[in-house]
């Protein structure tokens, strides 16, 4: 138990000290948020609603980035550098190591949510009810788990360069096509259909629903859980194959 606590502490430290993390998952979304709610004239009818809506988009964008990029690339680094092998020699079990990493990530996600929410409040004075803040935050935290599964799938790649290239592309594609940058109703009909099958759309959509006073659509639960299973199964399969 003591070992797991220590491990969690160091995992957190490592994430915090990573400059890419700070840049991609905090700085970028907040800058985007500022630009699209203050500088670019989006011509939306209800500016207040847009500011809250776009805050949810950028928070999910931030958390998704950390889950896909940080988690997966770190795993590849530890694998290729021989560190994972080295750890196998210690009495610290692999599951405990993985759990600590998950814990570190989820704590990071929680912090990212708080920081980006706070930025929305400070930049635009976004005001939501306490339960809207709470439940949208909780939704984003929980619904980030399928993206950690995607991260662990990227973590099975053999080279750091491939992993970082692929995860960048997936991350940006998911963000744009899922309507995190621009609402999907501005998309052509064909792309709207695509979006409805993407985990990123449902990730953000759940949060959008919560701040509009609804609860997330059952379809969002279904799609996200479905993707999580698929990612986990493939990642486990690939890992099993690599080890044999």
């Amino acid at each position: 138990m003591n070992a797991i606590m220590t491990q969690c502490k160091f995992e957190l430290l490592r994430i915090f000290r990573n400059p890419y993390f700070v840049f991609w998952t905090l700085f970028m979304p907040i800058v985007f948020y500022f630009i699209f709610t203050n500088i670019v004239n989006t011509g939306v009818p209800d500016q207040n609603e847009w500011e809250a809506y776009y805050l949810m988009s950028m928070t999910t964008f931030s958390v998704m980035g950390s889950a896909i990029m940080n988690f997966g690339i770190r795993m590849v680094q530890e694998q290729t550098g021989g560190w994972s092998t080295f750890l196998k020699l210690t009495p610290f079990p692999a599951w405990a190591y993985f759990t600590s990493k998950m814990f570190g990530q989820l704590t990071m996600h929680l912090l990212s949510i708080i920081i980006v929410f706070l930025a929305g409040f400070l930049i635009n004075g976004v005001s939501l009810s306490f339960s809207e803040w709470l439940f949208s935050g909780l939704w984003i935290l929980m619904a980030s788990i399928p993206f950690l599964a995607l991260g662990s799938l990227i973590g099975t790649m053999k080279k750091v360069e491939t992993a970082s290239g692929v995860s960048n592309i997936i991350y940006l594609a998911l963000a744009v096509l899922g309507g995190m940058w621009m609402p999907i109703h501005t998309f052509p009909a064909f792309l709207q259909h695509v979006a409805e099958w993407l985990p990123s759309y449902h990730f953000a959509s759940g949060a959008w629903e919560i701040i509009s006073g609804n609860s997330p659509d059952w379809k969002s639960y279904l799609v996200l859980v479905g993707y999580m299973f698929v990612f986990m199964v493939i990642a486990t399969y690939v890992r099993g194959k690599q080890e044999s």
């Binding site: 220590t6 990573n18 021989g82 560190w83 080295f86 210690t90 009495p91």
Partner: protein
Amino acid sequence: MGNVVQLEHVTKKFGKQLAVKDVSLTIEKGSTVAILGPNGAGKTTTISMMLGLLEPTEGVVKVFDKSPKETIVRDRIGAMLQEVSIIDMLKVREVIEMFRSYYTSPLQVEELISITGLKEDVLGKWANKLSGGQKRRVGFALALTGNPDLVFFDEPTAGLDITARRNFWEKVETLKSQGKTIIFTTHYLQEADDFSERIILFNNGEVIADGKTEEIKRNLATRSVSFLTDDKEVMALVQTFHTVIRCFEKDGRFYIVTSDTDAVLAQIFQQGIHAKDVAIEQGRLEEVFEHLTSNDQEVM
């Protein structure tokens, strides 16, 4: 039982490639064993199986009478592997602290510093940004963090200069005096000779010699009889002689390595071999080692 490591008919295949062939051996508590052999001889594969990192294709590997994968076993072993890059974003001190949390009775940081000769200022450095020598020291410290009874060093001194090598072995002497079992692989025959009580010589995945360092030296560094001859059939004939360990041809000279030069000479004359310029040489261990493990035109 006194056996710390036990291998029974262990074979390891990678696809069709045979990396280790039917190896059986036991290593006793408190001994220092050198695993010697050229690249690709199966040293690292064998060590990896002892460490539970690789599963043998056939046979059984036991460490402390259990599977090396068991947590209780892991708690009692430490290892320095080749080419491990320590994770980023942590200081050396933090990595050591992290490792200490893994074991039931770890050594204190001060103890680790005194055993490994790790410098205080290195503790404050980023663990993934160390010089080669510092990295090796940190690896040494991590191997000993759990105060292990059994320590593995895989090519611990490769790429180190002479002073650093001597330093390292001095530290290992201390471990030996504490009664720890030490298994190391090396390219340097001299190191095996100086620091081990037992040598296990690997070639092409097989153990080709195993015994006390002194014995190996006596047996391997045996004398050889050499001569010049025009007779092409000699090789096959000489193979059948008593006391012949092996024969090879080098620079036109024909060499017979034997434990008894007198017996070989007697047989040469008995068989009426046309041998000219006969000489008896005292084989050096280095030379024997080279021949045993190289793939030149040697006939065995």
